[in-house]
């Protein structure tokens, strides 16, 4: 049900006045889903920033060690200065950007020092040092992405591979499961089945226009399962070099998300549209992250990917504004 209809009902039932209804409409019209934009721009920032770092890394063998280290520390100090200057401006996008850059810079400096002095040590020692030193910036940041990334990194540092070894010792039969043999056909069948079911459930819901717990629960379950199945299919091929199969898996995921977005536009549901749009952006980001190759080509790929994503966000932002307009004013 659109907001306009809801407001009309609330006015009719004397829950709110006509003036309040008009104020709510005005507020909703001017309100820009800032969380969606913040999350989207964080992804673009990480992709472009990382890309630039890789392009520099590809060519800096020519620089002497001392110059590299001094350069990296100077850049880090510059970013800290930037974040510090923005302290008096809470919710500033510039501050978020500087905090993110400071956090990434720590990883870069640890890597650089590690390379310069040929330090040994696994993922856990690198990531634990990074997350502990990066804590002040994450603590100060209001970005959900940065905080979530920090938690994932910190946990991965603690768990590392030793946790998996422990799990395999307790459940040795896990080693015998042949995931590769059955996973893909089952996933494809389940995805198709759930997508059809989900589409049918939405159709029924629209025609019946009546809230039923069982149908809603079933629909939610189907929806979650469909997302799980589609993303599983995509992630399964993400880290492999299967060429055509990988491309098909990526197209399947993006096509599904596009399908969900088109349903959201039809249903005039701006929030559902944003959720799916964000999932699509995140997925595109992960595709670029998974395609590591030569430093220079990966760096260029990241920058181009970031710019493409930026363009996509602008289109999605306009579409979500359009949906919001329909949501409010379409009776």
């Amino acid at each position: 049900m659109s907001l306009a209809r809801k407001l009309q009902k609330w006015v009719e039932n004397d829950l709110i006045t006509a003036e309040q209804s008009a104020n709510i409409k005005e507020y909703e019209k001017s309100h820009n889903g800032s969380l969606f934009l913040k999350l989207s721009f964080s992804i673009v920032g990480i992709l472009i920033g990382w890309g630039i770092c890789l392009i520099i890394a590809a060519n800096w063998d020519a620089l002497p060690n001392i110059l590299r280290i001094v350069g990296a520390f100077s850049l880090f100090a510059l970013f800290i200065g930037g974040a510090y200057c923005q302290l008096k401006r809470p919710n500033s996008r510039l501050q978020e950007m500087f905090l993110l850059l400071c956090f990434l810079m720590i990883a870069g400096i640890i890597g650089l020092v590690g390379q310069t002095f040929n330090l040994e040590g696994g993922w856990h020692s690198f990531v634990l040092l990074w997350t502990v030193l990066g804590l002040p910036y994450v603590f100060c940041s209001r970005s959900i992405v940065l905080n979530a990334v920090w938690i994932c990194l910190f946990l991965s540092g603690i768990i590392d591979g030793s946790f998996i070894n422990w799990l395999l010792r307790i459940f040795p039969w896990l080693k015998d499961l042949d995931f590769e043999k059955y996973a893909i056909p089952i996933t494809l069948c389940v995805t198709t089945f759930y997508t059809v079911l989900d589409y049918a459930a939405q159709k029924i819901d629209r025609y019946v226009n009546k809230y039923t717990v069982l149908a809603t629960s079933f629909s939610s379950l189907c929806l979650i399962s469909a997302y799980w199945a589609v993303f599983f299919c995509g992630f399964f091929y993400m880290d492999t070099k299967h060429g055509i199969l990988t491309a098909i898996a990526h197209i399947l995921v993006l096509a599904y998300l596009a399908f969900r977005m088109s349903l959201a536009v039809r249903a005039q549901d701006a929030n559902a549209f944003k959720r799916n749009a964000f999932a699509a952006e995140l997925y595109i980001f992960l595709i670029f992250m998974s395609c590591f190759g030569n430093l220079l080509t990966t760096g260029v790929g990241f920058v181009i990917g970031g710019l493409l994503l930026w363009g996509l966000i602008e289109i999605l932002r306009k579409t979500s504004k359009y949906i919001k307009g329909m949501e409010i004013f379409n009776d």
Binding site: E120, Y137, C140
Partner: protein, 148 residues
């Protein structure tokens, strides 16, 4: 919380990293140079990314360069699940060429000696400084190789 507090907190990681880097540089400078022979230990992961993973071949290493003519095995490399892991970082451009050489060396195709020069102080973690192939610094060795 005050701006000064946040300022101090923001600069703390930078200070920690600078101290760490200086500590490593001093440690590398104060150590004496020792040469140890190396060998590959896992054919699937000889050159992972842009570093060579190796094990020290203590049988081929001259232990007279250490105190009491005893090789201090515990001071070299770090413990990993698969043994003691050692790394030497190489630039991306030379990685594939070194990888080929190292594989040939492992399979015994070519009679080569791979050594790593370490900066070593007794009871301190040794730090790799450079890689030698047949006694030559690895860059010079690659330059002296006939172009294929």
């Amino acid at each position: 919380m005050t701006k000064k507090f946040w300022g101090g907190l923001f600069f703390l990681p930078l200070v920690c990293l600078v101290i760490w880097t200086i500590f490593l540089a001093v440690q590398q400078k104060r150590g004496s140079e020792v040469k140890v022979a190396i060998q590959g230990y896992d054919p699937r992961d000889l050159l992972s990314g842009h570093y060579i993973q190796y094990q020290i071949d203590w049988d081929k290493t001259d232990c007279t360069q250490f105190v009491d003519n005893v090789c201090p095995k515990e001071d070299f490399c770090t413990d990993a699940r698969w043994g003691r892991e050692c790394r030497f970082y190489v630039p991306e451009k030379s990685a594939s060429e070194l990888d080929k050489l190292f594989r040939k060396f492992r399979s015994g195709d070519e009679n080569m000696l791979f050594e790593v020069v370490y900066s070593y102080r007794a009871k301190h973690q040794a730090m790799a400084k450079t890689l030698l192939i047949n006694g030559k610094e690895w860059r010079q060795f690659l330059l002296s190789m006939p172009q294929q």
